[in-house]
């Protein structure tokens, strides 16, 4: 079989279907992963003893165990106690938990870096703790967390391939199926790799645009750093 016929008529159409699933996995996971990360970071940093401990333990458990194990528990384990997810939903839930836990650590680091004076000034104006966190602390912390969060988003793009282990035919899985069927491992996986590279490149470019958009004028850290 002609190489180009294989790539354009067989491989790429299959991979495009897989890519759509990969994008769906990411689109369903990332927003909730971010929200969970914010909630867990704020809970750990500003919550009471119990809340703080719960958030810390959650992060500890997710950080300390393989994501694949979490996915297996969600998909194969939970039905035993009467909770049944489809493979896609189980994957998304797993990704949200994993993404959220790591995001929480990046955001917590950023929260710690905000000087106490910001909270003090907000409270001195009569804001409640929550109003101060929402209007003063988080907007600043999230800006500082962007590099870390984008890193985690890029991980998400790549570990979304683990959904294949729960029978979700996403990008990597689609590549694996074609590779096995036509015995074309090198070509198939090379093209899959290129598609991931493109996704990550687009993300990196988008993040750098976002960073410039939300940068606070007058705080040109990069410019200063380059001079020193």
């Amino acid at each position: 079989m002609d190489q180009s016929v294989f790539i354009f008529d067989i491989l790429l159409p299959a991979l495009m279907q897989g890519l759509v699933v990969t994008l769906q996995l990411i689109a369903c996971s990332a927003p909730f992963g971010l929200a969970l990360g914010i909630a867990v970071a704020v809970g750990r940093q500003y919550g009471g003893r119990v809340t703080s401990w719960l958030c810390k333990t959650f992060v500890f458990l997710i950080k300390g165990t393989p994501l694949l194990l979490l996915l297996f528990i969600l998909y194969f384990g939970l039905p035993a106690i009467g909770i049944t997810f489809s493979a896609f939903v189980a994957s998304v839930v797993g990704f949200i938990l994993c993404n959220g836990a790591y995001n929480a650590e990046y955001i917590r680091g950023a929260l710690i870096s905000i000087k106490d004076g910001q909270m003090v000034a907000a409270r001195s104006l009569g804001m409640t703790r929550w109003q101060a966190i929402k209007n003063v602390i988080l907007p600043q912390a999230l800006r500082r967390a962007i590099p870390g969060l984008s890193n985690e988003f890029i991980y998400l793009i790549k570990y979304s391939s683990l959904a294949y282990m729960l029978t979700v035919i996403e990008l990597s899985g689609a590549g694996k199926l074609v590779a096995t069927k036509y015995f074309t491992y090198t070509e198939s996986f090379a093209v899959v790799g290129v598609i991931y590279l493109v996704l990550v490149t687009i993300t990196t470019a988008a993040v750098s645009i976002l960073e410039r958009r939300v940068a606070v004028p007058g705080t040109a850290r990069a410019a200063t750093a380059a001079q020193l």
Binding site: V120, A121, S124, M127, G218, T219
Partner: protein, 251 residues
């Protein structure tokens, strides 16, 4: 003196940090429109005292009253009192991610629940008060220290406070910038704002204060008009303190 004139009453405030008793029973009354200046060596609890008044640092003992209502032990109502007790900090503490205008607007929108147009108009008025309306769209990182401090005064003014606490407002500024901030404070005092000022600016204390409180070791050691504390032979401790500063400067 009519008791109704008293806007803020501070009663026997005690505060310790660890084993260190920073405030050991401070009491005073503040009349509406009055400027009181707190002077004294570092570490004598002047800044802690201000923070005890708006409960940023809850005192261990003692009471604070604003317009006859108890501020201490007021629970969630403390957020109401804090609107009525403005505060200006040594290091400004402007919200770094917001323009000067939005710094002033924020609490109007979120705490007072004002509409956007009204909050904006009010914020611009307050910025004009401190001569910063031309800088409304600049971020804190783009302002000089004196400008930043004037914006933070506008931010406090915007809540229409009954009294403003100034915690060493010029200690982070060079003499030129100090002058522009003191100018604004002088104007506020003239216009009848009630102010408590912790400062090392003797010139300001002497020309603006209705009363100077000299603090030492967690208590008010001497209290009276600037003229009295500086010239009456019965008062010696503040004169000693100023003498020490002056001789240090000559060295």
């Amino acid at each position: 003196m009519n008791d109704n004139d008293i806007v803020l009453r501070v009663e026997d405030i005690h505060k310790s940090f660890g084993g260190n008793e920073v405030l050991r029973g401070v009491s005073f009354d503040v009349r509406r429109g009055e400027t009181k200046v707190f002077i004294g060596p570092s570490g004598t609890g002047k800044s802690t005292l201000l923070r005890c008044i708006n409960q940023l640092t809850p005192p261990d003992r003692g009471k604070v009253w604003l317009d006859g209502e108890e501020v201490t032990n007021s629970g969630a109502r403390i957020n109401y009192f804090r609107q009525k007790i403005g505060m200006v900090f040594q290091n400004f503490f402007l919200f770094d991610h917001l323009t000067a205008l939005k710094n002033v607007e924020l609490a109007l929108l979120r705490v007072r629940g004002m509409g956007k147009a009204e909050a904006r108009a009010k914020a611009l008025t307050e910025l004009r008060q401190v001569g910063m309306e031309d800088w409304a769209d600049h971020y804190p990182a783009e302002l000089s220290g004196g400008q930043a401090q004037r914006v933070s005064i506008a931010r406090a003014l915007a809540m229409d406070p009954d009294v403003i606490l100034f915690d060493e407002p010029t200690s982070a500024l060079d003499p030129e910038l100090t002058r522009e901030v003191l100018e604004v404070m002088r104007k506020l005092a003239r216009e009848g704002m009630t102010m408590l000022v912790v400062t090392h600016e003797m010139g300001f204390a002497c020309s603006v204060a209705n009363e100077v409180l000299f603090m030492e070791n967690g208590v008010v050691a001497e209290q009276g008009s600037p003229d009295l504390l500086l010239h009456d032979p019965r008062f010696t401790r503040m004169k000693d303190f100023i003498g020490r500063i002056d001789s240090r400067m000559e060295d």
